[in-house]
Symmetry: C2
Subunit: 409 residues, 2 copies
């Protein structure tokens, strides 16, 4: 059904990979401008989606993700300009090697090629991904959620019009279909699609991971832990707990479980209780002595709530905390609060999560906070990218080898 | 069927990731020594495989891959000692960032975790992979071919005995089964297996790529091209053609197609003809004027022979050569022979193959030749690793973030 579109996208790679830095910047600024100029058209399209959503009775949270406003369009536009200003990763030399036989080998960053993105209700993803792909000379193939159909089509068209006279070929392919079969086609076409990135809820991500034949960069799952060590600064631990859980509970880098060393459990939990008054607590018997809540089950410890809910457990040692994290973590982000740097380093070495913190909130696991400028999501897999997926992570590499007639003995 | 083994392997990661550089070196030297000490036992096991192979009437080529000898065991042992001497990639700091809020972020190399390897007849793969995995603190789960069953079991046992008193946990798991269902289990168990690397023929690799749920590093396919430019040094082009096709035709970095610019076609091909006397030529009409052979079909240009066969085509321009390579290449290795560096750079920029050469044989696409010391294979995918898979490519990364109470605004 979409084979022709996928073929065109793959063919576009050859031309688009050769587009130079200045032209890419010019294209990005043109998009930023056009989004503002065509604001009314985008908002009208968005209104169609909103009307449909109201008819279908979608949740307030989903409605909020879907809704566009002049301010949100302004933010998208500024986001695109920010990507324009980031330094160009393409062509960067990663390493250079001179071999004894005179061969000079350079490893350089190149585009991945075609990047398929399957996502849900937020229309800003359309613009974010397109901007990042343009900056990295990748061709994007976008499949948004049906809830945002009109908004996504309008945004894609506005962007395509903006760059039509600047780029030799369009790097933005929007799949104009709302059925699920096109997703299957997209995620299994190894000939035309180089990588698939799912962005959205667990259902979407698991569907893609389980059914893709194209290599996937898995994103999103975040069952993150905070461990309050016996050597913790308790004031600091309380501030971090509050920030990591409550500043924005719905996101993947928020914590779901607090492990607290028995030596400091009473002080920490007694003081945490009023701060977490509006949070539903699932605790073990020891922690429930100090903070009101209900008994936690194994299932609680294995659940990513993304909500005003928290698991708490008192542990007798750092090793018990590490053991717990190994059992339940999705390997996104974990934090230890301790004044003892040796204990911190042991904890950080022992864990293999993408991000391990000493004395800072897990909420910093974010491309912007890491200084990457723009991000596609948080990778929770071991291959290719881990943690925030910035511009470098949206690149592949190749080796250029310069000789003067070398042959192999 | 093998769930217990996969669970044990995954659990072993936690302990094995903490093993330090010196202990890993000691373990590798112990393996190298034990392989020599237990040579007779290994050769006896190999004889069982050979006897079975004779009964089943396998090909001479397969028999050669299967056969072990004191010399081959000596080579395996030396290979392990060489890996021992390579510098340790684990813990290497890839980048460090200081953020304006005082956070210090370090990206460091860590093990991948469990590495499943599915391979065919060559028993030396058992030792190569185990050594590389020990060096990179990865736990390997090996599934060899049924032809080499007794040899692989003996090699794995000898290695396990060698390290039993040195390592706190065994990082070598050999699947003791010859049926195909265990492969399915291995390549779909996302909970216990972090990455799958297939090593072998196209059938095996395609089976794994198409059926795996675990992330795969694809290896091996090599339809490589040599382009002889109008500005080529013809003597050099002839030497490279000979080396890249004939030095070892059965391997993935040998060339399958020569594209020659019309301006130099007559001289190059006339002189190539006697050098390629024993090679079966498939050419276009123009090339067959100068070198004997039969007409090439599209299928010829799309075939990786790994044999004494070559495709030849005369092109009118470098762009036609690039176009041809884009149509047929598996994106492994391509070479341009030209004295004109600007033309070379254009060619190398335009292609997105893993390795692009100016004036050197494609046979150099190899971990040893690149100076990596050891390699697991040649990656032909865009994600994670491209080209020779050395120790760095067998690592994942994590971020360690050091703070003093930072919370997110």
């Amino acid at each position: 059904m979409i084979e022709q579109l996928l073929t065109e996208a793959k063919n576009a790679c050859r031309t688009f990979q050769m587009v130079d830095t200045d032209t890419k910047i010019q294209a990005l600024h043109a998009i930023a401008q056009k989004l503002i100029d065509q604001q009314d058209r985008i908002l009208q399209a968005n209104q169609k989606d909103i009307a449909q959503a109201k008819e279908n009775g979608i949740s307030a949270a989903m409605m909020d993700r879907l809704l566009l406003s002049p301010q949100r369009i302004q933010e998208m536009s500024e986001g695109v300009r920010m990507v324009a200003h980031l330094s160009d990763p393409i062509g960067q030399v990663i390493r250079e090697m001179d071999r004894p036989n005179g061969l000079r080998i350079k490893q350089i960053r190149i585009p991945i090629g075609t990047v398929g993105v399957v996502y849900e209700a937020r229309p800003n993803v359309t613009v974010d991904i397109a901007a990042i792909c343009i900056k990295t000379n990748n061709v994007c193939i976008l499949k948004g959620g049906k809830e945002a159909y009109y908004s996504n089509m309008a945004l894609a068209q506005v962007m395509q019009e903006a760059i039509a006279d600047i780029l030799p070929v369009s790097p933005i392919y929007m799949i104009d279909a709302i059925d699920h079969e096109v997703v299957t086609e997209l995620i299994t076409d190894r000939e035309h699609v180089d990588v698939i990135i799912p962005r959205g809820g667990k259902g979407l991500i698991q569907h893609v991971v389980q059914n893709a034949k194209v290599p996937v960069i898995e994103t999103g799952a975040g069952l993150c832990h905070l461990y309050v060590d016996k050597e913790a600064d308790i004031d600091m631990a309380l501030q971090i707990a509050q920030n990591a859980k409550l500043q924005r509970p719905s996101v993947c880098n928020a914590i779901e479980t607090i492990l607290v060393h028995t030596d400091v459990a009473k002080e920490f939990l007694t003081r945490l209780a009023p701060m977490f008054a509006k949070v539903q607590v699932f605790g073990d018997a020891r922690s429930l002595q100090y903070i009101p809540g209900e008994m936690a089950t194994k299932e609680n410890y294995a659940t990513e709530y993304d909500d005003y809910k928290i698991n708490i457990k008192v542990v007798d040692s750092m090793n018990e905390a590490i053991e717990h994290i190994y059992t339940y973590s999705t390997k996104h982000s974990e934090c230890i609060v301790t004044k003892d740097d040796k204990r911190a380093q042991y904890f950080m070495d022992a864990l293999d999560s993408a991000c391990v913190y000493q004395n800072a909130s897990t909420r910093f696991t974010d491309g912007g906070q890491f200084g990457f400028g723009a991000e596609v999501g948080i990778s929770t897999q071991k291959l290719h990218a881990r943690g925030p997926i910035g511009l470098s992570e949206m690149c592949s590499t190749k080796y250029e080898i310069y000789g003067n007639g070398q042959i192999r003995e």
